[in-house]
Symmetry: D2
Subunit: 345 residues, 4 copies
């Protein structure tokens, strides 16, 4: 199979840079176009971009001349890490022009005809793309904090049912992009507020965990209350979660269904799929972002401290890599799933 040409939208940003790294040697996709705002356009990527990754810029892409978001593109699939201030109309325009837009932006996530997909959970929602009125399609992945909550809740919901969820997050600075959080605001500090984040966490998981009813999603029927905080951690969002179950289950039973959780990406052996999408930790003080964030290549939800809750039924700690599984990696896995399910044929 020859590789499918793809583009990265918002290629100079934090998520865009992760796309570039994840796609640089991808077995299915080949990056042909790097796209950014007018300001960056027409310059070689290495100059247009303030590169912030550990690894060097992939040599094959360093000199690619950046295109502007108002230019027509040749690539079939566009990975979008566009800032939400511009993503809405830009992604729509490209979808209308026939491209498949795999978006990490929030703008279209809650659109009724746009699938919000975690392929281990709801790859069937991809059918919604057929309802879209574009020649192309828009497929989204969730907010970074939503990702790990939804992954941890999925096997609990299907096995025991859920009535309510309290969640408090401690989120890494890379979640805010670059320059993002000022060091004077976060060094040795906690900021108990992240704009718009609690609203996303209280709605997105319900769509992901919902059911496809022909041309729309019936959201899952439980309530989430979220409290979101920024902490001085580089990569990795940590979440404390309390779950009220429909059908009682012991911590051991919950741990068992989490550890056993597998989905279509694992069955298909997709290149970006983690072997175990949920890692369950037995140690009393794990998972920890600085220690565990890169396990399974940053594509797993790490869960630990599964124990009884004196008010609800189960308490646990959930953690994952906010810019890999929580952003760029999620989008790449969505694209792999979409491709392998035959939608591009």
């Amino acid at each position: 199979m020859s590789k499918i040409p793809v583009a990265v939208l918002g290629a100079t940003g934090t998520v865009g840079q992760k796309f570039v790294l994840l796609l640089a040697e991808h077995p299915y996709f080949e990056v042909r176009e790097l796209v950014a705002s007018e300001r960056s356009a027409a310059r070689p990527y290495r100059e247009a971009c303030s590169w912030k990754q550990d690894a060097f810029i992939p040599p094959s892409l360093a000199d690619l001349v950046v295109k502007s978001t108002d230019e027509p593109l040749e690539s079939r699939i566009l990975f979008s890490g566009l800032d939400s201030s511009v993503a809405g109309p830009v992604e729509e325009a490209y979808a209308k022009a026939g491209h498949v837009v795999i978006s990490n932006s929030k703008n279209h996530r809650m659109d009724p005809d746009v699938p919000l997909v975690i392929p281990e959970i709801n790859h069937d929602h991809l059918e919604l793309t057929k309802v879209q009125k574009h020649k192309g399609a828009i497929i989204t992945n969730s907010n970074c904090s939503t990702m790990f909550l939804a992954m941890a809740l999925a096997p609990i919901l299907s096995n025991f049912g859920i009535e309510a969820v309290h969640v408090t997050t401690m989120q890494a600075i890379t979640g805010a992009g670059y320059p993002g959080v000022a060091s004077m605001d976060i060094l040795g500090n906690v900021i108990p507020y992240i704009g718009d984040e609690e609203e996303k966490m209280e709605t997105e998981p319900l769509k992901i965990l919902g059911t496809l009813a022909r041309d729309r999603i019936l959201p899952a029927d439980f309530k989430i209350s979220a409290q979101c905080n920024r902490v001085p951690v580089f990569d990795g969002h940590t979440e404390t979660v309390s779950v009220k179950l429909k059908k009682k289950a012991s911590p051991k039973e919950v741990a068992a269904v989490l550890a056993a959780f597998r989905g279509l990406p694992q069955e298909l052996g997709l290149p970006t799929a983690p072997k175990r999408p949920i890692l369950v930790f037995d140690e009393v003080d794990r998972p920890q972002p600085a220690r565990d964030v890169n396990k399974e290549g940053g594509m797993a939800a790490c869960v630990g401290r599964i124990r009884p809750c004196p008010i609800f039924d189960i308490k646990m700690v959930v953690m994952g890599h906010n810019t890999i599984r929580g952003a760029a990696g999620a989008a790449v896995l969505n694209a792999e799933t979409y491709l392998k399910k035959g939608y591009l044929d």
Copy 2:
């Protein structure tokens, strides 16, 4: 009034050092004795102690020779910052010998005849000291995380009633004493576990908010579920709290009763009492430990983001200085209250 001679037990530790600072120029008390373990005893305080405070060692105490915890003491009041591994029998022995032990240690907090006091809330519990079989007395203050939760809940309980409370903490490293948390464990990290802390937070507030029934405390009748985390913050524990009320109230009404909260220490104008025991913040992203921890001299509970909870009724953020109001300052305020209520006459 001549000053009352006092001693500091565990004077070389983190809490002990705070006692030394808070008592160095106290209008009621005069530090006459510094007491520590055998290892530190018989040496001048400046040598026995690895001083970790911003301020210099009070010159009047720097050369005081440290006594050992098995020596008899002359001081009427003993402020105890002893490690919990030794505090139990040591404090009891001193109480039997006739001293009033004002303790920050956990050991006797839940003893049925020992008052666990936040004077703005339950100074009447001090009556329990009369039930104690010692010649002296033991009076305790709460765990640092409990302190700010109990303070924030007190006016809510008395005005609206409480059915249940979910709380997640993000606790400062100074809460673990010195050397305490290894830097390799916490730099850029979150540790989602603090030994024994959740148990304390789920029980201590109920005793504090309970009612005195002649010779014992009837605990408050609601449930708390706590999840405790260590974060890379120096001073200041932050807590996200969701409260289920008995009687509905709007965020505005809750904010009003919190801001209006005053107690006996404020009425008496005690030297260590904050003017406003609860500071209510309107800014969407406050309180923050690095910014607000020293407000009211570190003696206030800071509360912000009071808003509706989709599951319970009210969500809010609570923050306070863990080694001042959460430890040494709390004990000093207890001693001031005990004195001014006439128990020492």
Copy 3:
């Protein structure tokens, strides 16, 4: 004496906020005008300013309406924390209009007719203001890193002579203003570069330590080599210094002249003057920014580890508060000195 009306230029910035705090209850000065860019002008200070200080905004200034830098001002003395992108012409215009501009900005520091003053060292340089062709005057203080180096070198120079100085800095994030350093760049990191900083450190101390020759300054005659780094510290620049002396001296002798150092501000008992401008530490691991930065109200240079250098003669560690003695506090002390020397009469 009635207080002298003063204004703060750049009042919404990091240094401007420190000016507001230091001047709010000053015995000589009364803040009458707060001045900022067009964008902030005509709004109450509390709204125009993203307040980042521990203390609350001084209530007397919170509602003062901010003026724009192109408006005429009434105040005699203007404290300038203007950004260097605008300070040059703005400060000059105000000086021409008759104001005394006490500036923390770099723009005019090296002008031949502008004194660059640390009053303990070279208050006689204030005579240069008479050479200035303005109706008013411009008086500057040094760059924050220069400040502590110059203070530590002054008594060494006058007692033993200096031939060469190697200095490496580890500078706090507050030195870069707000938003300044992005957290993604500095959390758990060292940035071995600060734009323009090494040049300042290699030239400014020579002017400060130079001698006034009628209408100009003859710079001190030695060489400085500086290497400047940003580290994840909130307040306090630390510097490792190696000094080649003209006349040999032991570490003990150097420590003695540093500890004995006093100047005009100490003689006059100026309100912002530290009692001891240089604090000498004996402990092997001090000074440390997080522990010592607020000693003497943040107005001292802290020096420790004075020891022999295998190549030069003396090695030492120098540390001080970059936004107090290194910026706003330095300017206020300059103004106090200028006033008390009678220049305003």
Copy 4:
């Protein structure tokens, strides 16, 4: 070739854990024995060890029962990460018993008959092992800070000669082992002192850069003055360096010899050898520990900001991974070199 059985001494410590990771799938060596103090002995490694690495414990070693340092060992080569409090006699005893001890400990580094080796620089010093009176041998690598200084100086010395070197370090917390630096001491702080470190940096490079004269090393003939600091960085020591050359050279010429530097490990293509032992950075603000520490697998010295020094000739910034190239990786490379040079035949 069948793999050579090796042991790790001090296997539960920070450096020992790195040895375990680096050797787990090594093409030449196979870990057969894990050795630690009495306290850890006779327990499975996974229990004896407080594992602090990102990666999981290698499954093949997790259940290996730990031996005590007073037991006889079977392995030919022993990698020692023993604490310096015990390494001296233990390593000597094992060498006497015929083992080749590849040590990261400081104890024998400066012994006249023990080679202190960086194989790119002085693999010929391995001949010293023949002078040793043991049946086996002791081979050491340098202190972590020394490593990167010596690597950066080596090509400068051989091309231009060196007269003097000023160096200031900013060292990562992992350099102090576990628990090592208390978080209360380093969070948001700089500690301007590391016990014994300056002495090592002022002597070890001279031995490494010295010449073998039959049975001893003639140290290099220049002076080093070191100032060592601890900073809140996880991995990666940063050093600012000023070098006085014997023969003048421009920054460009220095950069060229650094970038071109190669040694025996590169010629032999040793498994742990970096392709480029010195990475030269052109960016004005690099290298940075958080960004560059893992380049070349953590085995390179990263050098940047090569520029003129107003006092000496050249200033530059040097950085490297303190627990890989600065410790365990260095030892493994020494063993590979020793093996491939035929000493074990």
